[in-house]
Every structure is written in structure tokens, then in C-alpha cells.
């Protein structure tokens, strides 16, 4: 039994929550030896195989959306440049560009690009704020993520109202 206790100690766990409470490595002493013996012998360690209970934290979702919207903008820039070129060509091109906005499918595509722009803009501003040291804690991070998503949502709705 003393050997099992030594195994725990040799792995130099930074701290252990078990039995009677928290132990740091420094605190391991023979008074708690029984706890560690129990732990070493027990094979009932907590295992979670229910994948439906796994969730990305909202900060991770905010981050991946920033990437996705960036990739969309790379392709979406083609649409914006094409519209710019057409609208500046001549009077007829300008009328064609306006007519394209009346087309339901094109309006939807443009709204999609503007939505990506809105999200990427807000998430980028959040990123710059975080560079300056704001919104980096466990408490403020999710708040920043939620606020940026809410702001982007408002802008996306406004963009939709603008296009249609």
C-alpha cells in the first residue's frame, strides 16, 4: 500500500481533488495516505461518452465564425468588385447593377456577403479590443462574445432591410 501512494507522488500532480478535499503536492503526507490508496485502486474514474453533452464555449463559436466569415469575404469580394465595376462602367451598367439588386437570388447573395462583412467587422473590433487587454478573462470573454454576436445580428438585420 505504501508503494501505491508513492506512484501518486512520483507523478507529481500539481494538485489533487479527492477524498477529503484539495491537496497540493506539498501537502501530501501520511495522514492522507488512505485517500490516495483508494484513488489508486479505484477504476471508476469519471468518463463522459455522451457526445451530445459536449459544447463549444461561446468564445470558440465567436472565433470560428470570425474565420468562416473571413473565408466568405474572400470569395464575396468577387461579387462586390463585379458590382463596383459594372456600376461605374456607364449609365447602362449602373442601371444593370441596380437591377441585379432587384433580383431575388442576387439580393440574397449580396446580403450574405454583407452579413459576413458585418460579423467580421464586429469580431475584428472585438479582436483589437482583446489585443489591448480587454475581454480576456473567464468572465468578460463570453460577455464580449455575446455582445459582438448581438451587434452583428442587428447589423445583419439592418443589411437585410437595406438590400430589400
Amino acid at each position: 500500500m505504501a508503494a501505491l501512494y508513492l506512484v501518486v507522488k512520483e507523478h507529481a500532480l500539481p494538485f489533487v481533488t479527492f477524498g477529503r478535499g484539495h491537496y497540493t503536492v506539498d501537502h501530501i503526507d501520511h495522514r492522507y495516505e488512505e485517500d490516495f490508496q483508494d484513488m489508486a485502486m479505484s477504476s471508476e474514474r469519471p468518463v463522459n461518452l455522451d457526445l451530445t453533452t459536449f459544447r463549444f464555449p461561446i468564445t470558440a463559436i465567436a472565433s470560428i465564425l470570425h474565420r468562416v466569415s473571413g473565408v466568405i469575404l474572400f470569395f464575396g469580394s468577387f461579387i462586390l468588385m463585379a458590382l463596383l465595376g459594372l456600376s461605374l462602367e456607364n449609365e447602362a451598367g449602373f442601371a444593370d447593377a441596380l437591377a441585379l439588386l432587384e433580383n431575388g437570388f442576387m439580393a440574397f447573395m449580396i446580403w450574405g456577403v454583407l452579413s459576413a462583412l458585418a460579423y467580421h467587422f464586429v469580431a475584428g473590433a472585438k479582436h483589437l479590443l482583446m489585443d489591448m487587454g480587454y475581454g480576456e478573462t473567464l468572465e468578460s470573454g463570453p460577455v464580449f462574445a455575446k455582445v459582438s454576436m448581438a451587434l452583428a445580428f442587428v447589423l445583419i438585420v439592418l443589411a437585410g432591410a437595406w438590400v430589400w
Partner: protein
């Protein structure tokens, strides 16, 4: 292993700085465009639109923005590609496509801006 030969600035620090400066330019242009269109977009005429975009400062600002877009998109997509495309061939092919596309965007923008 991913080497940094395809990095924009050959170093993470240079990429970091370029990404943020280009972001500020892109954000400024977005704000100018959105505000101008919000104010004038209602019954926008061709003459009005061409007059706005034809100003020298707007031509230069637009070109600057497209150049910023090229740098910004390259750094962003390089980061995305090195994270998700593990096979070197696929990653380099994708980045080649990105580089050509961004080059076309820049040339296209110049031809649009100084072609009217």
C-alpha cells in the same frame, strides 16, 4: 511541418502588425462606404455615384483598401490553410489559388478605378 516561407512577412510578428493595420484600413473604408450610401443611397444616380468614386482621394482610398484586402486575406487564409489543410500539396495548391485570385482583385480594381 509547416514552414514560414509562405508567411506574408516571414515572421509572425510582421504578420500580426500587417493584419491589424490592414484591418483598420478595411474598417475605415467600410464605414465611409456605408455612411455615404446611407446618406445618398436613396435615389442614387449614376452621375452622383461616378462623381463620388471618381474623386482622386476616393480612387486612391479604394486602391489602398484593395491592397489591404490582399494582404489581410493572404494572412488570414494562410492561417486557416495551415490549420486545416494538413497535406502540403493541397495547402500549397489552395494558397496558389488564393494568391492568383488576390492578384486578379488588385489588377481588376486598378482597371475599374482608372477605367472610367
Amino acid at each position: 511541418m509547416v514552414t514560414n516561407v509562405l508567411n506574408y512577412g516571414r515572421s509572425g510578428v510582421a504578420d500580426w502588425v500587417v493584419q491589424r493595420f490592414s484591418a483598420l484600413i478595411l474598417a475605415a473604408y467600410t464605414v465611409v462606404m456605408v455612411v455615404w450610401l446611407a446618406v445618398n443611397g436613396g435615389e442614387l444616380t449614376f452621375a452622383q455615384w461616378q462623381g463620388f468614386m471618381g474623386q482622386t482621394w476616393m480612387r486612391i482610398f479604394t486602391l489602398l483598401t484593395v491592397l489591404a484586402l490582399a494582404g489581410h486575406a493572404w494572412i488570414g487564409l494562410w492561417t486557416v490553410a495551415t490549420d486545416y489543410m494538413k497535406k502540403g500539396v493541397i495547402r500549397v495548391a489552395f494558397l496558389g489559388f488564393v494568391a492568383i485570385t488576390l492578384f486578379i482583385y488588385v489588377v481588376w480594381a486598378i482597371s475599374i478605378l482608372w477605367g472610367f
